[in-house]
Symmetry: C2
Subunit: 341 residues, 2 copies
Amino acid sequence: MPVFDSIKASLKVFFTNNNYSQVAVLVDENTKRHCLPILKEILPKRHNLISIKSGEEHKHLQTCSFIWNELTNRNFDRNALFINLGGGVIGDMGGFCASTYKRGIDFIQIPTTLLSQVDASVGGKLGIDFNGFKNHIGVFQLPKEVFIDTLFLNTLPEKEIRSGFAEIIKHCLIADAEIWNVIRKKDLSNQNWKELVNHSVKIKEDITLKDPKEKGLRKILNFGHTVGHAIESYCLSQPKRKVLHGEAIAAGMICETYLSVKKGKLPESSLEEIEEFIFPVFGKIKIKKEETEVIAKLALQDKKNSGGKINCILLENIGAPLIDQSISLKEIKESLEFYIG
Amino acid sequence: MPVFDSIKASLKVFFTNNNYSQVAVLVDENTKRHCLPILKEILPKRHNLISIKSGEEHKHLQTCSFIWNELTNRNFDRNALFINLGGGVIGDMGGFCASTYKRGIDFIQIPTTLLSQVDASVGGKLGIDFNGFKNHIGVFQLPKEVFIDTLFLNTLPEKEIRSGFAEIIKHCLIADAEIWNVIRKKDLSNQNWKELVNHSVKIKEDITLKDPKEKGLRKILNFGHTVGHAIESYCLSQPKRKVLHGEAIAAGMICETYLSVKKGKLPESSLEEIEEFIFPVFGKIKIKKEETEVIAKLALQDKKNSGGKINCILLENIGAPLIDQSISLKEIKESLEFYIG
């Protein structure tokens, strides 16, 4: 379970209890400016700063090579510590680099965005994008520790809060109808982030502990992600079509809720309820009708698919997901057409 | 424990008991020509052949990218199987690619060289070279199965047998003085490979099961490797200085035995005994006196080092190793000077 406490206090205890030969801190230009100063007095004086450019478009092998090179040049040995200070890209890629450097050194996650606090911080999924496919190369490896402090959320622009909110919504839709009924009655600015982060992390921890390697139950965490990842991958491959992970997942949840209704699993009223909340918060990603085919094909390349069919998570009720639901390319295309309206 | 049996029989049973969405076979030009035909009738008809160039100099990220690309282009999903048919490079790199593709698919090892049968096939160490450093990037991951058939040894040139023999010698020197006394009385052509492979694998299995992540005991497997890897890395970085892994390890064992005597741990007679057997079998790698400094510095970058000191395995007797023996750069240099004589 992650440590929910003042980051300064908990990091201080961590360094008192652990002895490392060297310490590296991975940051991007945003966390270097806004988050690193908060930790300055706690970090060992002779820590090594490794700074990369922010953004999903840098989550690839070349950046890993840069990071591995930095560790090599600074003579990092196996008893060194790697700290990921940032959002999901930093955590996923930094964790992957640490887990593969000399076959693995200790690393800790300090997620600084809402999205990474509720999503990437739990479950040990690490990785990078490859040839436009999201998280295509990676490993499962738990960090030595995860420290979550919602203090960092104050450093974020609103769109980053919105992006993380999509995963919180997802956790409610797959596991807690009650909290869904709490959040859907408030707008973005009135949510209680401290409570919601705690709640979301607990849901994700429960699920991933029961099924660490995603053989069954854990698949429900992919709700919204089959179509959502495809939308995200597609936009990433296009010039000037930046889309945040949460925006793509919000769109994916609409599509997959639509498919749940279409396939007779979920009452239509639930689709309306979800649409009514999601669209005002997230708006709509601009997708042209002629682009739906290629996005649907990208969904086929998703990690969760088996033997040429697309396996998807559908809902039979809010809070009650169904795993391994086979859907066709045509149905995905249709759901995207529904989404663009 | 690896399966020691006719490869055809055991692979047939494996495919009867396991159901995979797709199968890839990684080969190089040598195993494609000499080993693949042996398996042809057993492999699924629609298997995907992935062919790479042989040699340690191709064990790097670019080749991994090529392999990951092949899997992606052929729509491999998480229920696919990856078969490594070849020596240590194929096993280490193919295993690393399989363990990281979509965060890990099943893979099996079919080691075809003596070296990979007694060394790379056990213990789950996978990886690639990076910037000239051996196995610098990798993971620990056990294969689904390892199949060892000494039938493949008939396809090897003598120098490859010699290379694998170094690891067999190492296993005796760190764990079995009795078998050391058997092998040192025969020349290369009179050894019983089937028995020796079995014996070596059992020693390595025992050690790695007791200490899978190399926290203590497993370090003894690094005997000869602190100096040996450095020699290998150095030669690899030079034009036309090809050296086989086993040749470098044989040299490393001489150096580290010398250090064991020099530091008062081992009787001088044991050094003489080891020298008398190793030099006639392996010859001597040509190293100039002025190159010893840079080789010693490479040893410092070794994965096994901690906090700037060089940790090394020494012997206090044949069959009785000592772990975490701190040695200096100067001592390594001196041992290399002893080796070149």
